[in-house]
Symmetry: C2
Subunit: 145 residues, 2 copies
Amino acid sequence: MLTMKAKYALRALTTLARHGHAPLPAHQLAAQARVPESFLEVILAELRRAGYVSSKRGLQGGHQLAKAPEQIGLGDLIRAIDGPLAPIRCASLTAYRACSDCPDPEACATRVLMTDVRNAIADVLDRRTLRDQLLLESHRGDLAA
Amino acid sequence: MLTMKAKYALRALTTLARHGHAPLPAHQLAAQARVPESFLEVILAELRRAGYVSSKRGLQGGHQLAKAPEQIGLGDLIRAIDGPLAPIRCASLTAYRACSDCPDPEACATRVLMTDVRNAIADVLDRRTLRDQLLLESHRGDLAA
DNA sequence: TAATTTCCGACAAATCCAGTCGGAATACTA
DNA sequence: TAGTATTCCGACTGGATTTGTCGGAAATTA
């Protein structure tokens, strides 16, 4: 499941990317990305901790991307905000944990199935970066114009 | 995300399938599938409503599969228990709903991305049936023996 | 009738989600 | 130095969802 938080994070990052290098204050970012301002604060804190944005306080301050869009993998981004991609922990590569009620994870058919699902998800997400999202939007805009 | 409920449902159905045609009482099913007995009741009710199991009351009663395992698609099963496969409603084929905060779903890059994810998930799940899960387990057993 | 079993709805505890709020710290400008 | 704009931080809250439990009614069979 994609939470609001991750959806907002994605929008915030693409907004920052489009805005260029100058720092963008949170209240403007909130308006442009359509994210509730006080919730955006929470999200920016996580993005900062994860190294995706850097922030500057005071007048002329604001937030900016800390990496180039093509270096922001969407899989990792969503992992940072929403946790593991796998539908169930025992199918996660990056955050494996056996089910407490599972006598033998090696033999678990559910785990095998869900591992296939998690790989399918990761295949999509880990092949794309923020840059792809930007191109998607601008391409759309071009067509409409 | 795969909830406990869906995980239990999957285990309950494979257990019923392995047990054959005779009805299996809930308390035995609970033990064999390792599902809390009173929660299993709730789950069986949903499976019955969705047409996957049929039940018989009274002495010699119990639950049995209402379809052949190869006719129980895992995608549909999980949809019946956990809801849409898509990570976000606006990316669902079977249960589409636009985000309330989205000015133009057609142009939404997040929706495009998540549609790819949902298709990847559905590709895995809609190609498999309960029979595949059965084979997975028995094959495993063979190897271990 | 007695035993067994499903069936049903209400309830409840725990966890997670989506956000808010108040204020402290920091930086810039005049 | 004062004032203003801004980030930064943690605590809090209300609601939804998950993961169950419980008590009893209805049905079936022996």
